[in-house]
């Protein structure tokens, strides 16, 4: 094998981790240009794609925003319909970017994109400063508890690289972020069009002491974002081979939600409350000495208990709350409004139950954060605090403590549509 082949093979199987990013902003903020720039400068753009946008570009420059140009249905209507996923990588990290449209269905799309994100990028036009929609995007990122927030102050070239403009926006955002309990905020002055501070530091911003945007994305520390303390293992599927070789094999397959599981650990199974020990953990390549999020594994227990899908394996002295009463912030995503006494299906971890809406405590104005306690329903893209009563107990934690056991979706049983997203709050 040639040295090149060897190097490439190592690259493809390298020990890189994945950073999941959500971007928010409208076309006017230069979001498509920024994403196009990241894809192009990290060489995720292929010759035929580049040739296609070169043909389609008007004016002197190749329009990088066309790289994220979407479906024909969208071009015809001049809007972006849906979350699009983009992929690029550098020698340090692989990036999965959820590109969410800024205008239409912004809450539904931004919430969807942010739900899996480690980091959110909010685009701000330097000429316009922090707008209502910038506040909204930052709020939604904090509601979904995206651990890292980056504000990209774009079009700095159009304000003559003014430190004053940048500082003004940075301070305003920092004050707002404190209210939102955003744990990590970074503000980068950029020009997506010209590439300043996107991949490399720009000579136009000598006053800026931070790193380029891509450098930040490559180095932001995400390992400690995971909860490695509270053991939560929702049982997803029971594996029973029933063959001669594996006659007595009974494995509980699932994805580790949080915490660390090890053979020999004393564990408790909910809802039965019975305790036993972990006999073995089987991973995709054989036995493991530890399992942690987001690994998909199969756990075998020492005792022959009755465990099935929807049950939860945890530690005896660190169990989630077992409850039928849920207090949650709900993002509503359907045309038919959410109203008290409505009946819905709930999917929480691997458990599906029914629920009734007991109360709508308030509707939140995502622009002003004002709580409207007189609201009688949640319309499409509204967010509010809701009380639900479920038919069966769920095993829950607050969303701010545990993103896995603190979240659920709401399903309309008549249409089977996903109509809401919920994040549990302390009652």
């Amino acid at each position: 094998m040639s040295a090149l082949a060897q190097a490439a093979a190592e690259l493809a199987t390298a020990r890189k981790d994945i950073l999941r990013i959500a971007t928010a902003g409208s076309v006017d903020d230069g979001k498509s240009t920024l994403i196009g720039r990241l894809l192009y400068d990290s060489k995720a753009v292929f010759e035929d794609q580049y040739a296609a946008i070169e043909r389609a570009s008007r004016g002197d420059h190749v329009d990088l925003s066309l790289l994220t140009d979407g479906l024909r249905a969208e071009r015809e209507q001049g809007i972006t319909i849906d979350v699009a996923y983009r992929y690029f990588s550098t020698p340090r990290r692989t990036f999965i970017l959820a590109d969410t449209p800024g205008h239409v269905q912004y809450t539904r799309n931004m919430v969807t994109g942010a739900s899996t994100a480690d980091l959110a990028i909010v685009l701000v036009d330097a000429r316009k400063g922090m707008l209502e929609q910038s506040r909204r995007h930052a709020f939604l990122a904090s509601l979904l508890r995206v651990p890292h927030l980056v504000v990209a102050v774009n079009k700095m070239d159009l304000v003559d690289w003014s430190e004053e403009v940048y500082e003004g926006i940075r301070e305003e955002f920092a004050a707002f972020a404190t209210k939102l309990e955003v744990p990590d905020l970074t503000v980068v002055p950029i020009s997506a069009l010209q590439g300043d501070n996107v991949v490399t530091r720009s000579a136009n911003t000598p006053w800026y002491e931070g790193t380029s945007l891509l450098h930040h994305l490559e180095h932001v520390h995400v390992a400690s974002d995971r909860n490695l303390v509270d053991t939560r293992f929702p049982v997803q599927y029971v594996i029973r081979p029933q063959t001669d070789e594996f006659r007595d094999y009974r494995g509980y397959a699932g994805r580790v939600g949080s915490g660390v599981l090890r053979p020999g650990d004393e564990v408790q199974v909910l809802p039965s409350g019975l305790t036993t020990t972990i006999a073995a953990i089987d991973g995709p390549d054989g036995p493991l000495d530890a399992a942690f999020a987001p690994m998909s594994v199969t756990v075998r227990l020492t005792d022959d208990l009755d465990v099935s899908r929807g049950d939860m394996i945890c530690r005896p002295h660190n169990a989630p709350t077992v409850t039928q009463d849920l207090d949650a912030m709900v993002c509503w995503m359907a045309d038919t409004p959410l109203v008290p006494r409505m009946r819905l299906a709930v999917k929480h971890t691997t458990r599906s139950v029914r629920a009734v809406v007991k109360d709508l405590q308030y509707r939140l104005d995502v622009n002003t954060l004002h709580r409207d306690t007189t609201a009688d329903g949640l319309g499409l893209n509204d967010i509010g605090r809701v009380t639900l009563r479920t038919t069966q107990p769920l095993f829950v934690d607050d969303y701010h403590r545990n993103r896995v056991t603190g979240r659920f979706i709401l399903i309309d049983e008549a249409t089977n549509a996903t109509v809401g997203a919920g994040m549990l709050t302390p009652s």
């Binding site: 093979a9 296609a52 479906l71 919430v111 739900s115 594996i239 942690f292």
Partner: protein
Amino acid sequence: MTTADHRLTQLQTLEAESIHVLREVAAESERPVLLFSGGKDSIVMLELARKAFAPARIPFPVMHVDTGLNFPEVLEFRDRRVAELGVELIVASVPDAIAAGTVRQEPNGSRNRIQTPVLLDAVERHGFTALFGGARRDEDKARAKERVFSFRDEFGQWDPKNQRPELWDLYNGRTHLGESIRVFPLSNWTELDIWGYIAQEEIAIPALYLAAERDVVDRAGMLYAVNEFITPKDGEQVERRSVRYRTVGDANLTAAVPSVAGTVAEVIAEIAVTRLTERGATRGDDKVSDAAMEDRKKEGYF
């Protein structure tokens, strides 16, 4: 396995995500089926299914929509792999449907579009409620907006404006009678991830994916290997060249690329420096228009 620092590599993360998706469908869907063509993506998907349910057998059948235009090496591979895993193989045959008069092939010999009614017919006959496909979001811009769980109506149609929101990893696979869900466990994998995984796991693939000396004709810059379905036309020169296939589609329309990569690692090296997307380089059927994939997907194509 890297457990000391509680970190996973990108391939381990993608593997865990795909296994979670496969198990979720097996747990919730009445009658799933996995689409297996013998192509590299479906080979990886089948390997992930094996791991997801080991040491038990894969708890659902696999289905091949057979256009009758197969590379013989790929068919052989399909049958061998299915036998090794002890899974049931269902073949939905396009030639049978042509013979029965239910579909007609296009004038250029493409059976790409007519796979769809044959697929939908098989789904209905077998009552499948969930279909695993090996599509990836990095393949095409219509795919970039596809959900992991993609809802299809009773005609198998995709409505990009009316997709179910997909939050966290809480998938909604509910369907009414006649409707189905297309599930894409490899959504977040890139072409390079697929090859990296094939190399890392030493997964067997059909020999077509590796470079060999083959007789080819050059048609508008695309190299087609002479086979049962491609015979040189008048004036076409047959050349002996070292080529490999990046995708394995219908044998009458899939072109090869010049290559000297005789091993998986060498293929990875070539791909890492290649600047043409997979579909653009080798699939005659995608060159028709910019929105070709979007149109086919709306009709129920995978």
